[in-house]
Amino acid sequence: MKKSGLIIFCMVLLYGVKAQDAGALVEKIKGKYNAVKDYEANAKMKTNVVFIKAPVANIKVYYKNPDQLKIRNESGISFIPRGSVNVNMGNIFTMSHYAAIDAGTEMVNGRNTRVIKILPDDEQSDVVLSTLYIDEAQLLVLRSKTTTKENGTYELDMFYGRYANYGLPDKVRFTFNTRDYKLPKGVTFDYDNGSAEKESEKTKDKKGTVEISYSSYSINKGIPEGIFN
C-alpha cells in the first residue's frame, strides 16, 4: 500500500515538473519570438490547391506584433488562405493564459523535437488547441498544428536559416483544409479538352498548401497601420 502510494506521488510530481518545464520552455520561446515587433518581408508564394492553377507569386508579408499579418501580391492575383495569419506564431505566443502540456518527443524533418500542447484558458480564443514541435536547443518551433473554432485545422512547417536568431523562418509550408469547388453544369460552357475527368478526380483531395519562401526581412523598422486595413 505504502509502495503504490509512493509511485503515485512520484508520477504526480513528475507530471508537475514536466508541465512546469513545458510552460517554461514555451515562455522562453515566447520571449524570443516577441522580440520581433514587426517585419516586412519579400517572398515567393506557391499555392498548391487541387482546383487552383496559379503562377508562383511575388508577395510582400507584413507583420505587426502581436497578431496582425497581411500578405499582399503587389503585381498579380493570389488566393490567400484565410487562416494565413497563422503563418506567423504570433497568435499562439500572444496568449497570456494557457496550459502547456508536455506530449513527449518526435522527429520533425530529421530533428528531435519536444512536443508541447497548448490549451488556451480564454474561452473567447479562436484557437482550441495548438501542438508545437520545438527544437529545444535552438528555441525554434519547427512545426505547429493549430485547431481553430472557425477555420478548421492548420499545419505549419517552418524551415530556418539566416533569420533563425529572430525565430523567423526562411521557408514556411502552410497546410489547410479546402472546400469543394464546383459550379453548376452549363454555367461556364467549358471546352472539353479531355482534362475534365482528371480534374474532378483531383478535387477529392481536401488539403491545400501554401509555401512561402522568404528572400529578405526588414525587422523592427515599423509598419504603417493602413497596411492591415
Partner: protein, 294 residues
C-alpha cells in the same frame, strides 16, 4: 477575276443596312456587359467564387480587370455571334434568288464555281471584320476601362490564374480560332442558302441547327456526350477556350506560355475546317447543278 467579283460581293454586303445591324448589336452588347460589370462586377465574382469566401482571401477588384472582362464577353457573345453571321451568309445566294437577280448573275461570263467562291470569300471577309470589331471593343475597350492584371479563368471544377504577361497572345489565338469557328457557321448558312429561294429559310435553319446542337451538347446526357457531342461542330467551336486552359506542374503552378491540351485544339480546328470544306463544296456542287429559275 476572283478579286473583282469579291469586291462586287463585298460592295453588295456592305451596301445593305442589315450588315451594320451585327456591328451595332455587338457594340451595344459589349458596352452593356462592360457597364454591368463596372457597376456590379463584385456580385459576378461572388457568384463564381462565393463558395470559397470562407477559405480564401482575394481582391475582386483585381480579378475584374480588362482581360477577365474580355474573356467573359467572349464567353457570352461567341454563342450568339453565329446568329449574326447567318444573317449575312444565309442571304448570299437566296437573297439574289429572292430579288430575281440570280439568273442574271449566272448568265455573266464567270463560272459558277468562281461566283460561289467569291460569295463565300466575301462572307469570310465579313466574319473577319466582325471579329476584329469585337476584338477592338471587348479587348482594348475593356483594357481601357478596367486596366490589366492576371487573368482568372473560371471553369466548372476550378480556376486557372494566368500571369498578365502571358495573356495577350492567348487572346490573339482565341480570336483566330473564333474566326475559324464562325467561318464554319458562314459556310453552313451559305450552303443552305443555295437550296432556298428567299433568305429567311437559310438564316432560320442555321440558327435552329446551332441552337439544337448547342442544347444537345449542354444537356450532359451520357448518350449524347458519347455519341453526338464529339461530332457536333458546336462542341469544337468552343476550342478558343483551350488557349486559356494552362498546363501546371505537379504542385499546380501554371507553366508560362503553355496550353493544357494543344492536340485537342488542333483536333477541333481540323474538325471545323472539315465541316467548312464539306458545307462549302456541297453548296458549290449543288449550285453548279442547280436549275436556276428565278
Amino acid at each position: 477575276m476572283f478579286i473583282t467579283i469579291l469586291r462586287i460581293e463585298l460592295f453588295k454586303i456592305f451596301r445593305k443596312p442589315r450588315t451594320y445591324i451585327s456591328f451595332g448589336a455587338i457594340a451595344v452588347m459589349i458596352i452593356l456587359i462592360q457597364l454591368a460589370i463596372k457597376v456590379q462586377g463584385t456580385e459576378l465574382i461572388n457568384f463564381f467564387l462565393g463558395s470559397q469566401n470562407s477559405t480564401f482571401d482575394y481582391d475582386p477588384a483585381k480579378i475584374l480587370n480588362g482581360y477577365f472582362v474580355c474573356y467573359f464577353i467572349l464567353n457570352t457573345l461567341l454563342i450568339h455571334v453565329p446568329l449574326l453571321v447567318a444573317l449575312i451568309a444565309g442571304d448570299l445566294v437566296a437573297g439574289e434568288a429572292n430579288m430575281g437577280t440570280l439568273r442574271l448573275l449566272v448568265s455573266k461570263p464567270v463560272s459558277r464555281e468562281m461566283l460561289m467562291f467569291s460569295k463565300f470569300g466575301a462572307s469570310v471577309v465579313y466574319v473577319v471584320m466582325l471579329l476584329l470589331w469585337m476584338a477592338v471593343l471587348s479587348l482594348f475597350g475593356s483594357i481601357l476601362l478596367f486596366g490589366t492584371n492576371d487573368l482568372v479563368v473560371i471553369k466548372e471544377t476550378g480556376f486557372h490564374i494566368i500571369s498578365s504577361g502571358d495573356v495577350l497572345w492567348r487572346f490573339m489565338a482565341a480570336f483566330l480560332f473564333a474566326t475559324l469557328a464562325l467561318i464554319c457557321i458562314a459556310s453552313l448558312a451559305f450552303m443552305l442558302s443555295v437550296f432556298a429561294e428567299n433568305s429567311i429559310g437559310p438564316i432560320v435553319a442555321t440558327v435552329c441547327i446551332v441552337i439544337v446542337f448547342t442544347i444537345v451538347q449542354q444537356l450532359q446526357v451520357p448518350m449524347f456526350q458519347e455519341y453526338a457531342s464529339p461530332y457536333l461542330f458546336t462542341t469544337h467551336m468552343l476550342g478558343w477556350k483551350g488557349f486559356f486552359y494552362v498546363m501546371a506542374t505537379d504542385e499546380n503552378q501554371t507553366i508560362r506560355g503553355s496550353v493544357e491540351n494543344t492536340g485537342a485544339i488542333l483536333k477541333s480546328g481540323l474538325v471545323l475546317t472539315g465541316y467548312t470544306l464539306f458545307f462549302l463544296l456541297l453548296g458549290v456542287i449543288s449550285f453548279k447543278r442547280k436549275d436556276i429559275l428565278s
